[in-house]
């Protein structure tokens, strides 16, 4: 089945479908966010940031966005994947794995040897996916606090 899937750079015409796909995970439409992602990772023509989509039978069925980030939190340059989604009707076909493999290739060409991501602890589906791809708890710990009552 995955031989029918193509991974390619996102184009402007994909945005509406991507916004719909994103709605499956986050119940809030955010066109401005996706337009910004497109501007930063496609229109800007960077060689260290990638916005890819998976296509099957001329239909966009998944997306992944990643980039090289350097020296944030004192970390040497590494690749970050910060958005990933697959249409529920094409899950468990290996689409996510294909997109992640392509992203890893591109990030490696951009000069990094480590891949990072961050996932909500309750998001078992995505966490299990990244685990299945060999990602483990990394050396950086995310910390947070509420500042609502300051």
């Amino acid at each position: 089945m995955t031989d029918q899937v193509t991974i390619r750079n996102a184009i402007l015409a994909d945005l509406d479908t991507l916004i719909e796909l994103d709605l499956v995970a986050v119940a809030e439409e955010k066109p401005a966010y996706w337009r910004g992602i497109f501007d930063r990772y496609v229109a800007a023509g960077r060689d260290d940031g990638f916005f890819l989509v998976a296509e099957m039978n001329d239909e966009v069925i998944g997306f992944i966005v990643g980039e090289v980030r350097a020296w944030e939190f004192g970390s040497p340059p590494c690749g970050w994947v910060f958005a990933l989604g697959v249409s529920p009707k094409t899950r468990e076909l290996g689409v996510g794995q294909l997109m992640l493999e392509e992203m890893c290739q591109r990030l490696k060409k951009a000069g990094v040897t480590t891949l990072r991501t961050m996932v909500d602890r309750e998001n078992k589906l995505t966490l299990s996916f990244f685990r299945s791809q060999g990602l483990r708890t990394g050396r950086y710990i995310e910390l947070e606090k509420s500042i609502d009552d300051i």
Partner: protein, 143 residues
């Protein structure tokens, strides 16, 4: 985190059986493979059978086989058949308010640790653990 022996033996058994769901193994086969007590493992296998993850096949050539869903069952699913994975703070009731606050803080820290432990174990499926084990074996053979 100190995992109970029963949980560890259950993980051995489930991973061994799930690595080839067509294969039937006796408690002795598995116990010998991991160097553990057959008697203790037999008790663990009874719990696994009751949970529906493992089936006992009776008769000559019988044994146990995995009948769960390998890419849906997590390590936590197996462990929680035997323990709750919650740290116990063995603190007697505090006498003053300050003591109470310290105990509450320590309880909150152990809860944080427990939640992280569970988040890790609940997102590693048997399939992922088996794939990683196979990769380890392959890398060790290449070294």
């Amino acid at each position: 985190m100190k995992m109970h022996k029963a949980s560890l033996f259950a993980l051995y058994a489930v991973l061994e059986l799930a690595s080839d769901p067509e294969r039937q193994l006796s408690a002795t086969d598995i116990a010998d493979h991991y160097g553990i007590s057959t008697h203790h493992l037999a008790k663990v296998l009874r719990t696994l059978v009751r949970s529906g993850l493992v089936q006992a096949v009776r008769g000559a050539g019988g044994g146990y086989r995995f009948v769960g869903v390998v890419n849906r069952t997590t390590l936590l699913d197996v462990i929680e058949l035997f323990e709750t994975l919650e740290s116990e703070l063995d603190a007697p009731p505090p006498k003053g308010q300050a003591g109470g606050a310290v105990i509450e803080e320590l309880q909150s820290i152990t809860r944080e640790i427990d939640e992280l432990t569970k988040a890790v174990l609940d997102t590693i499926t048997l399939e992922t653990a088996l794939n990683s084990s196979r990769l380890r074996t392959k890398l060790a053979a290449q070294a």
